[in-house]
Symmetry: C2
Subunit: 453 residues, 2 copies
């Protein structure tokens, strides 16, 4: 019988995260204080994040030990299986081997708890009692809720109201894990009250939810803010997945020609790909592909520039691919990919030509996702379907070129609470959502006048 | 670091199912033809099931080879991990080791595909093109939808209308796998039309949905009916799980004192427990516990008697624990446990004192499920919470008695599409639903005059 899954024994779980910063071919542009234009120091961030996470954010150590307490929580679902998608290969009928990491086996069903558990732990150790965060589609909010409960922390999640109403299951999941999920705009913060006063029926936005969460967290000794993607320490925590994949592929004597992940803020992508980027920096030949939505084509259409991480301009300026902090992406079902910016690490690697990016429209991604579900069984998150669309494209190319290829991708989560999106696709109601040139040009005006990296 | 999960390598997956019939200490009472009162023969069942499954239903072979094609599909999620619930143990603070099989890692999220894949395969081999079935809460319907798609069969699922409306995600899941999910009563069958004529707004019932599915399947050379629990061949297919558990426990040198599963029709319970029942028959000392709802206390309160499998009296008479085929259980969220009868194999083993049964009310089960989610992370199906309630009770007893115990149970599925039930619990709206004596007495009138086993 042909092997489908490679299990990594728990004793073999990586004991350190991989930090790519010391391996970068050129130094990254530092985050800037929007007022002074000077690089932000740890003290500037201290009201927002605990100092131990800030140290990780700026660390130049290549390997960072994973605390025993974090490993213990990881064990609830990690190491995740490496799969070979034999049925999907058969369906595509191309000269490719397709491997994927199944991150959907975690309790909330995605890769998000890899960093949620770590962040909750470091906050706990630093003496923090409550974490505030925002969530769009709800994957991050639910992961952090679980992690906080495990370390005895209070958790408050500001969820964009339109998602809160459309995806009630994610909010309920947070409640099961004892968190407080609040639709944003809320009356809990100045920022929220201001918006509600203007428009009591405001659907909210991710930018506003971030502002509410930060406001809720800062100014209180016992509370801090947490972010589920974009930042260096978030990508760092996610590398556990790529490091596992490396070991698992070695066990079966395979090395990928192409590594693929979907990109919203960059965390699931970075988690799988960064260890392979290191190989590429050291001379290995392979393609590493970011799969993003055509409705929010941050890397393929946005410039590399300094921009705010949020709409309300409360964060430091980050050097990254961006569509402008005012940009409001179309309401695609892949809520986790609706972000105007991109992780500075990923953006820098694109600039160094170590990564390439491709955009897929919503219809394409669900087409791919349905093929996947009907051959491999698993129903993918709408975000994950972008990676699958890229796999399909790679397979078609391999077929055209008559070239054998080994593909590895991150199956970042399941879509069991996103079934309404599949229903829309199957009933022909799904909108494609491409981005007209003029809309990009308009959005990019928001970064006029900001410093250039 | 302490071990949490035991992975079984794919090469170690059991290659045969275990059939308990030859090991039964006394012979089981045969199914009877309701008209003649005589034992039903294979030919009586031929219009309903394919002959290769009928042969398994009556087989006296102890070991039955699992076809290569079925094993290949099993590999998509099997072998499932055996977990040790260390965090839950800590929370309960009792002298117990708690192990569980995580059947939630399958694509539809439960144990159901263990038999769905096998049944689809045997139908396919027999030349069948379309399978009809019914589903209550939707776990079975979604599992069979996936299995049919994998073997290129058409699948038609009659879903009780009230569930169809309340749990739209399960129906959508079936659509993703290409099945046709029809709310029952429907206008597709005589049985459905009859009910609709009387009451166009009928909420439907499992009994009626079975009648619709059978009517839809029979009388057509190319189509057959499939059942997701109760029958011997269904429990047979599920034993893959218990056989894996045996191997995994052996790997760590552990043998359980108590084995627990929740019981609706008996299939997830049988799947885990039957291999351990065999040990008990051969002299091993252990308790094997059926956990059922107080609102549908089939084993704890229903007699062992001959009864119909469905409300419409279309099935043979089965010798089983039953509350009477007219019994309509209260609308608890554990839809998979709302069945008036019990698998004849399980019922016979209860009669032989090889199993014991305990009933838990809905509030207790969600109390246990919330404790579980907040320590182990995973959110359980409402059905599974019954098994967890039994684990809690066993742990409390062990503590009182000051006796160390090893507990094994079947975590039969996740509750990610059942979050409305958790919401009801957390907001204090969950109803306890016990069964008044007079209601049981009334329900049991339905079996007056039927033959006795």
């Amino acid at each position: 019988m042909k092997q489908v899954k490679v299990f990594l024994d728990e004793s073999e779980i990586p004991k350190q995260w991989y930090n790519i910063q010391p391996d970068m071919p050129t130094p990254m542009s530092p985050p800037l204080h929007p007022g002074t234009g000077l690089p932000v120091g740890p003290d500037d961030l201290a009201p927002v994040f605990p100092m131990n996470l800030i140290e990780q954010e700026v660390s130049t150590e290549r390997w960072i030990d994973i605390p025993e307490e974090v490993l213990e929580k990881y064990m609830l679902w990690r190491p995740t299986p490496l799969y070979r998608a034999r049925n999907f290969e058969k369906l595509l009928d191309a000269p490719v081997q397709i491997y994927y990491k199944n991150e959907g086996v975690s309790p909330p069903g995605s890769h998000k708890p890899n960093t949620a558990v770590a962040q909750a732990y470091y906050n706990k150790v630093f003496g923090i009692k409550r974490i505030s965060t925002e969530t769009g589609a709800g994957q991050w909010g639910s992961a952090l809720s679980m992690a906080c409960k495990m370390f005895g922390l209070e958790c408050r999640v500001f969820m964009v109201r339109v998602s809160y109403d459309q995806k009630p299951f994610r909010g309920l999941m947070m409640n099961v894990w004892g968190a407080n999920c609040i639709p944003s705009p809320s009356d809990k913060t100045e920022a929220g009250r201001r918006v509600l006063a203007e428009n009591p029926d405001s659907p909210g936005s991710l930018g506003l939810a971030i502002s509410e969460a930060i406001e809720d967290a800062v100014g209180n000794e016992d509370s801090r803010y947490a972010l589920g993607s974009v930042l260096n320490h978030v990508l760092l925590h996610q590398t556990i997945n790529g490091l596992e994949a490396e070991k698992q592929l070695k066990m079966i004597g395979v090395y990928p020609d192409v590594v693929i992940g979907c990109t919203g803020g960059g965390s699931n992508f970075g988690g799988l790909c960064l260890p392979f980027v290191r190989d590429k920096i050291h001379g290995k030949e392979l393609s590493i592909v970011c799969a993003e939505p055509t409705s929010c084509p941050t890397i393929t259409r946005g410039p590399f520039a300094y921009d705010f991480g949020d709409m309300a301009q409360t964060t430091p300026l980050l050097a990254m691919h961006t569509l402008g902090h005012d940009f409001v992406p179309a309401p695609i079902h892949a809520g986790g990919l609706r972000y105007h910016g991109m992780a500075p690490i990923i953006s820098h690697l694109v600039k160094e030509h170590l990564l390439e990016a491709r955009a897929y429209n919503q219809i394409q991604t669900f087409e791919a996702g349905i093929k996947w579900a009907r051959s491999e069984g698993f129903i993918s998150a709408p975000e994950t379907n972008h990676a699958i669309a890229a796999v399909v494209q790679e397979a078609e190319r391999a077929k055209e070129e008559g070239k054998e290829k080994v593909i590895l991708f991150n199956w970042s989560g399941h879509g069991l609470v996103d079934l309404a999106a599949y229903d829309a696709y199957l009933s022909g109601k799904l909108v494609q959502y491409d981005m007209p040139e003029e809309e990009i040009a308009r959005a990019l005006k928001a970064i006029d006048g900001l410093p250039k990296p």
